[in-house]
Amino acid sequence: MNEMKRRLSADDIEALLPWYAAGTLGAWEAGQVEAALAANAELGRRLDLVREEMTEAIVLNEALGVPSARMAENLFSAIDRERRTARDPAARSGVAGWFADLFTPRVLAFAAGAAVLLIAVEAGVIARLALQEHVPQGGGYVIQSIPTDAHTTRRPDPGAFVRVSFSPQASMADVTSFLNARGATIVEGPTAGLYRVRIGRNYVAKEELDRLVGEFQSDGDIVASVTPD
């Protein structure tokens, strides 16, 4: 505010000419320079000198050329190596690296988010079971989990499922958005790093299932691996 109250001296104005010529002054300072230029022809001549300097400085810098394609190749090779290492615990050096991966903030955040999703799913199942108590026997219900043994009396899950591991680089928001876009939901997991994801409400033919798996696989930024369940 103090700056707003005082006027710049002639020396201050002259010192600001390079920035005025480059268009990088704030509005107030630019206004002060313009007022001084309007009142002082000599200052205008000095501004012309600044513009000459600027022109040649730009020409000199442009003459420095551009970096080679090698630079971009080296950079993105290094980035891809880091992405692979982040995605594949086995590529890290030993068990310590694998454990370190488990506790990175991003993975922890994702695990917490997945836990919230699971709780929500389970709450839905419980609520549904409670409602089913009032349904006549034989009406049946569907439980969103895998049968524990061959003698189970529960009906098999309807729909199509895949087992998915998500990229450590993927945020919770990324995963949620990815699943929502495909009408998919996590119904179980993680078990050994894999989530069971429902990708269709009804049975789908093998060809369609393969196509859906392929679609999941195509987004390497979100999905690390996917297999039909």
Partner: protein, 189 residues
């Protein structure tokens, strides 16, 4: 650099922090040339400059989540690049402003006297700009070519804003002295 582009840079940095490779490619494409030229001017060796720029952008990839948005992304990049260039020159004193390499880059015009004889004031001005000290040349380039404000130059170089203005003034005064010695009197200062 427009405010719109700066805002867009910040969005890209946010996406890079989420591991978005495409955002990284966009940011790199947008800034690599200017940052390369800034570093090349400092280290004087194209191969060293390219290696340093790769390091700069790899740091951006790894540390994008630390960008606080207090300055423009381009200013942040130049500050990182400058730090790396100076660190590199300290590690390898024999590469410190390799005069031979610098001459190779800069020796594209006649001597000032010859240029004046050719009545080519622009060429003489270029030659005198190249004859400035690295300190003066740096501030000239940041203001004229990289279009950095007083505050941004202060942040990149790590000096007070008042010193930025003073350094720019003395750089320009030295430039006039060099031109005068070459036979061109600009009548200033």
């Amino acid at each position: 650099m427009s405010a719109k582009l700066s805002a867009s840079d910040e969005i890209l940095i946010g996406r890079i922090a989420q591991g978005d490779r495409l955002a990284m490619q966009l940011l790199f494409a947008r800034h690599q040339v200017r940052v390369y030229r800034f570093v090349l001017r400092l280290v004087g060796n194209p191969a060293v400059a390219e290696d340093l720029i790769s390091e700069v952008f790899l740091d951006v990839w790894r540390q994008a989540d630390r960008f606080e948005g207090r300055s423009a992304v381009s200013t942040w990049l130049l500050a990182i690049a400058r730090f790396k260039a100076l660190s590199s020159m300290r590690r390898k004193p024999d590469e410190e402003l390799d005069e031979e390499a610098a001459d190779t880059i800069e020796d594209s015009s006649d001597d000032p006297e010859v240029a004046v004889q050719k009545k080519d004031k622009g060429a003489a001005l270029k030659k005198c700009l190249q004859a400035l000290s690295p300190e003066h040349r740096e501030v000239i380039d940041l203001v004229y070519y990289h279009e950095k404000s007083v505050e941004e130059v202060a942040e990149i170089i790590g000096i007070p804003e008042a010193t930025v203005k003073t350094r720019m003034f003395y750089a320009r005064r030295k430039l006039s002295e060099l031109l005068k010695a070459a036979g061109i009197d600009r009548g200033w200062p």
